[in-house]
Structures are given as structure tokens and as C-alpha cells.
């Protein structure tokens, strides 16, 4: 029926890429839309100015989780300078669907969280430790969004 819930959006929602945690992240940030209950914790590992690792965990609507999956795919391996230049329109292009004003915050939560995670890089006051105990990257396929929603 749907121009919003396209197959690839649902696919990224059910099996998000880069979902999990890294134990050697250099920075992380937890972003949330309290109004919706969307939440994303995004970790980055920066080496020599390059974003060589990025991972996220979270729960939320299909739009917020698919956008995090698509965005992390996009920035992985890219120079930090390239990642920080990404704007709202880039994320909306990645999603490739029409986002209504009411869902804009869902769509852009991952970008906002990434920018905070990168902005926090090297600023101890803002660096929040990765959540929980050190863990290996958990395979995305093991995630059951339903169990968390």
C-alpha cells in the first residue's frame, strides 16, 4: 500500500546495518526524541581523521532506525570532515521517501546523534562512555526489533 514503508526501509528497520556496540569507540552519544520514545546510542571510532568504525543501538520507529542504518553505512570509512558536512537533505535523500513534518524528527535523529558524537570527539566533558560493559560488536542479524519496541 505504501509509499512510506518501502521494502528497503522495512529491511533496514528489521535488520539494521552497523547495529551493535564497539569496545574501542573513541566517542559516543545518546540521542533521543522524548516525544516519540525514539532513542539511538551511536558510537564512533576515529583514526587519523577517518571514521573507521561506527555502530549504534536503539529502539524507535521504522523511520528513525532505518535512517540510522542508512546513515552509518554512508559515513563508515569516510573522513570525519566529510561526515560532519552531511545535512538534513542528505539523510532525506538516503531515505528516499517523503517524510511528513510530524516524522522529520524521527528521520533526522540519527544525523543529530552522529553530529553530537563527532562534535564530542576530543572534548572530555562531552564524551560519554559506551553503555554497559565492554562488548564485542553484536551481529545485526541477531537483533529482534520487535522484542525491543
Amino acid at each position: 500500500m505504501d509509499d512510506l514503508y518501502r521494502d528497503y526501509i522495512l529491511e533496514h528497520y528489521r535488520r539494521p546495518h552497523n547495529f551493535g556496540t564497539m569496545d574501542d569507540a573513541t566517542s559516543s552519544y545518546e540521542g533521543a526524541n522524548p516525544l516519540c520514545g525514539d532513542r539511538i546510542t551511536l558510537q564512533v571510532r576515529v583514526r587519523d581523521g577517518v571514521l573507521d568504525g561506527v555502530a549504534f543501538t536503539g529502539r524507535g520507529c521504522a523511520i528513525s532506525q532505518a535512517s540510522a542504518s542508512l546513515l552509518t553505512d554512508e559515513v563508515k570509512g569516510k573522513p570525519v570532515a566529510t561526515a560532519t558536512k552531511l545535512g538534513s537533505s542528505d539523510v532525506l535523500d538516503m531515505l528516499g521517501i517523503e517524510i511528513s513534518p510530524a516524522r522529520m524528527k524521527c528521520a533526522l535523529l540519527s544525523l543529530d546523534t552522529l553530529q553530537h558524537a563527532l562534535g564530542a570527539e576530543g572534548s572530555p566533558a562531552e564524551v560519554s562512555p559506551a553503555e554497559g560493559s565492554p562488548a564485542e560488536v553484536s551481529p545485526a542479524a541477531e537483533r529482534q526489533p520487535g522484542a525491543e519496541a
Binding site: 514503508y5 516519540c36 520514545g37 525514539d38 532513542r39 524507535g60 521504522a62 523511520i63
Partner: protein
């Protein structure tokens, strides 16, 4: 379950409500969405739709006698004042207030509660005093008290709920040993639909020497309300949830409390005499109605109150109780995998159904339903602490009003099936 009836509801008739006939009074229910779907409105707990009687009353004021109240010595000014004060009488009768002068018009329940928190609260609450609330309060009956206790170095205590969303009165009894100055609770939960035993709770609080504020925003459209039978001291509600325009609302409080309370907002209308360095206050309720009020909207609220009294609130309650039983049956039969929150006993439940479809976030549920023309609410419904207690970030919520039909429930049940199909769960 009784069969649907086809009687016309007019005063005196004790037959069940006929929502299909009632729907003709609500022009918006005949509209379709931009996708050509008939509107299935299941978000009445957020705001209700408005009947022609209310729309026309507001329109008539604006078109034929728009004038300020309590000022004009000319015909339309006097007519506006008379209509505004008649609305106060209708509103008083609607909740069985003993005296219309005890009805203070406010913008909504939020403003009514803030009025009490600022005016009564700042005078009466001191360091170390306790205020008892519940875990199921709307933010409107939580945040004003947070501000007050922060300012006064006082304390908040909370009556917890059971897992199915009922207040634990045995804990309330223990909390009352703290000798709170005020107990404030919702009459009907906007999120769970729980109808609280407000008269019993008021008696318990009074026994312990506390005053009682009841947040009636979600009760006035759904259950008969009699503030004298409840016995409470303050009763706050919004007009827009009870078929009246947004911007209308009221606080009812006992006369001696209102008279002892200092003004809340200051300016015109609320004064008797103003000098450069001091003023005297107007009599109640006008002491609390500074500035030009929402005249058209409050007139609309009076008409809405008359409309609901005409239907009979006991019949409104019975209609919603039956719909709830019907909805529970259909959920159990067709969507046993969908989690429902709140008490499953329809006797203590109003027409509010929060639900969770495993594997689908409530926003996505609402979005897919919207495409089918079905309007529900998704989110935390202004009860974030309650969602924390239920351990869910958000819920989807369907809610009823006098115009809700079984066909609306059927559309929701089918729509949930479509949500599950889209998401493959």
C-alpha cells in the same frame, strides 16, 4: 451485549445512546481524508469533535453579538455578558456545583490546576509539607506541583499503580500518615482509561486533613460528574475534550477557598477598585478572570454541557462501557498478540485503549492507520512517568466519545491487521 438500537435520543428517553444518529450532529465525521478515506476518529482523549450546536453558538456570537463582557452598556454587550454568564450556569449544573460563582473560567484544565498551584499553593504550602499525587497523572497535574515544591522546599509523594493500572489505595493510606496538605489525582486516566474511586479517595484524604484536587479533564466527557457527591475541594477540566472549543475550561472550587485565595493573573476584570499603588479584588469568580476571557469559547462550553446533559451522562457512560466490552472481545479474538494496557474490567474503565503491536513502533502504527483514514494517538500521551512505570517508551492509543461506533472499532481492528501485514509481524 445488547443489540444496537435505533431510537432517537432526547430528554427523558432512557434508551441507550444511538451514536449513529448522534454522528449527524458532528459535521467533521462526514468528511474524508485527502486519500479519500472516511474519517475514523479515535483520538477523542486528545480532543473531541464539536457538534453543530457548539459550532453554531460560537458562530452566532461572532456574527451577531460580538462584544466584550461586563462592560458595554449597549444591547450586544449586555447580550454577550448574559450568554457568558449563562454558560457559567450550564457548566456549574453539568458538574452539579452548588453555586455558579464557584466556576472560574480558564483556558483549559492545565490553567485551572496552575491557578490552584500558584494561588492556593503559594499561600498554603510551606517547607517540608507533603503533596500526594499518583503515578498516572497527566503532566498537567504533575509539573505545576513540581515547580511549587521546588520553590517551597516541600515534598511530592506518589500513589503507585498495579500492573494493570489501578491505584494502590493501601499505599495511599500509608502516605496519608505524612499528613499531606493536598492530594491531587486524576478522575479518569487519559492513558489507561482507569476510573479512579474519587469519592472514596477524597474521604480518605479529608480524614487525614488534606484538601483534594481532582483533574477531571478526561472524566467530564465520559462519566457523570457530581462534585458534591465526590466531596472534593477543587475540580479542574477542559472544554475541548467535552465537545467544546479549545480555549475553554473551568476550575470549580468551594467558595470559601476561592474567597481566601489571592489572585492568580492580575489586570482588568479581576479588580474592584484600582489606585496607583494598590487595588481591591473583584468578587469570585471574576477575581480569577483577569483580562478579556475566551467569550465565544466559554459560551460554546455552556452549549456543550447542555448537549451532554441532554444526552444524559449516565447513557454516555453506558455507551462507552459497551463499546469497550465490544473492543476487548474483538481484540481478544482477532489480535491476541497485541498487548492492551490498563484495567480489563470495563466497570472501572473509560473508553481509552492503549495498545502495543509487538515489532511495530506506535508511530508506525499510527502512520499506517492514518493512511486508512484512522486517527489514533501515538506517543507518551503527556504521561511520561506512567510509561516509565509500564516500561514502554510509547504506546498507541484509541479513544472514544459519544459519536464512536462499533464500525469505528471494526475499522481499527482491520487496520491493525494491515499494520501487521505491512510490517510482516
Amino acid at each position: 451485549m445488547t443489540a444496537p438500537t435505533v431510537t432517537v435520543d432526547r430528554p427523558g428517553a432512557r434508551e441507550p445512546l444511538n451514536p449513529i444518529a448522534i454522528r449527524n450532529d458532528f459535521p467533521i465525521l462526514a468528511t474524508t481524508t485527502s486519500r479519500g478515506k472516511p474519517l475514523v476518529y479515535l483520538d477523542s482523549a486528545a480532543t473531541s469533535q464539536k457538534p453543530n450546536a457548539v459550532i453554531d453558538a460560537v458562530d452566532e456570537y461572532n456574527r451577531t453579538y460580538n462584544a466584550n463582557v461586563h462592560r458595554g452598556i449597549y444591547e450586544i454587550g449586555e447580550r454577550a455578558t448574559a450568554a457568558y454568564e449563562a454558560a457559567r450556569k450550564s457548566t456549574a449544573r453539568f458538574i452539579n456545583a452548588p453555586d455558579a460563582h464557584e466556576i472560574v473560567f480558564t483556558r483549559n484544565a492545565t490553567e485551572a490546576i496552575n491557578l490552584v498551584a500558584y494561588s492556593w499553593g503559594r499561600k498554603s504550602i510551606g517547607r517540608g509539607d507533603a503533596i500526594v499525587l499518583t503515578e498516572m497523572e497527566h503532566h498537567a497535574n504533575l509539573v505545576p506541583w513540581q515547580l511549587l515544591v521546588q520553590e517551597k522546599d516541600a515534598d511530592l509523594e506518589f500513589i503507585p499503580i498495579t500492573d494493570d493500572g489501578v491505584l494502590r489505595l493501601e499505599v495511599f493510606e500509608v502516605l496519608l500518615r505524612l499528613k499531606p496538605k493536598l492530594v491531587a489525582f486524576t478522575h479518569v486516566s487519559n492513558t489507561l482509561g482507569t476510573i479512579n474511586p474519587v469519592a472514596e479517595m477524597t474521604a480518605m484524604a479529608h480524614e487525614a486533613g488534606a484538601l483534594v484536587l481532582v483533574d477531571g479533564a478526561q472524566a467530564v466527557p465520559h462519566v457523570p460528574v457530581d462534585v458534591q457527591a465526590i466531596g472534593c475541594d477543587f475540580y479542574a477540566f477542559s472544554g475541548h475534550k467535552m465537545l467544546a472549543p479549545t480555549g475553554s475550561g473551568a476550575l470549580w472550587a468551594r467558595r470559601e477557598l476561592l474567597e481566601a485565595m489571592p489572585p492568580f493573573l492580575a489586570g482588568g476584570e479581576m479588580i474592584r477598585e484600582v489606585h496607583l499603588r494598590r487595588s481591591d479584588w473583584n468578587a469570585i469568580p471574576w477575581k480569577f478572570e483577569a483580562g478579556t476571557p475566551a467569550i465565544a469559547e466559554e459560551i460554546g462550553m455552556g452549549v456543550a454541557a447542555e448537549y451532554l446533559m441532554n444526552l444524559g451522562m449516565d447513557r454516555v457512560r453506558e455507551h462507552e462501557r459497551e463499546l469497550l466490552v465490544y473492543a476487548f472481545e474483538r481484540f481478544a479474538r482477532e489480535h491476541p498478540d497485541v498487548t492492551l494496557f490498563g484495567p480489563m474490567d470495563p466497570e472501572i474503565r473509560s473508553g481509552v485503549i492503549p495498545f502495543d503491536i509487538p515489532g511495530v513502533h506506535p508511530h508506525d502504527v499510527a502512520q499506517v492507520l492514518d493512511r486508512l483514514g484512522i486517527a489514533i494517538r501515538a506517543g507518551h500521551h503527556c504521561t511520561m512517568p506512567l510509561h516509565e512505570r509500564l516500561d514502554v517508551p510509547a504506546t498507541a492509543r484509541a479513544s472514544f466519545n459519544v459519536y464512536t461506533t462499533r464500525a469505528d472499532i471494526d475499522a481499527l481492528i482491520d487496520g491493525i491487521g494491515e499494520v501487521q501485514r505491512v510490517f510482516g509481524v
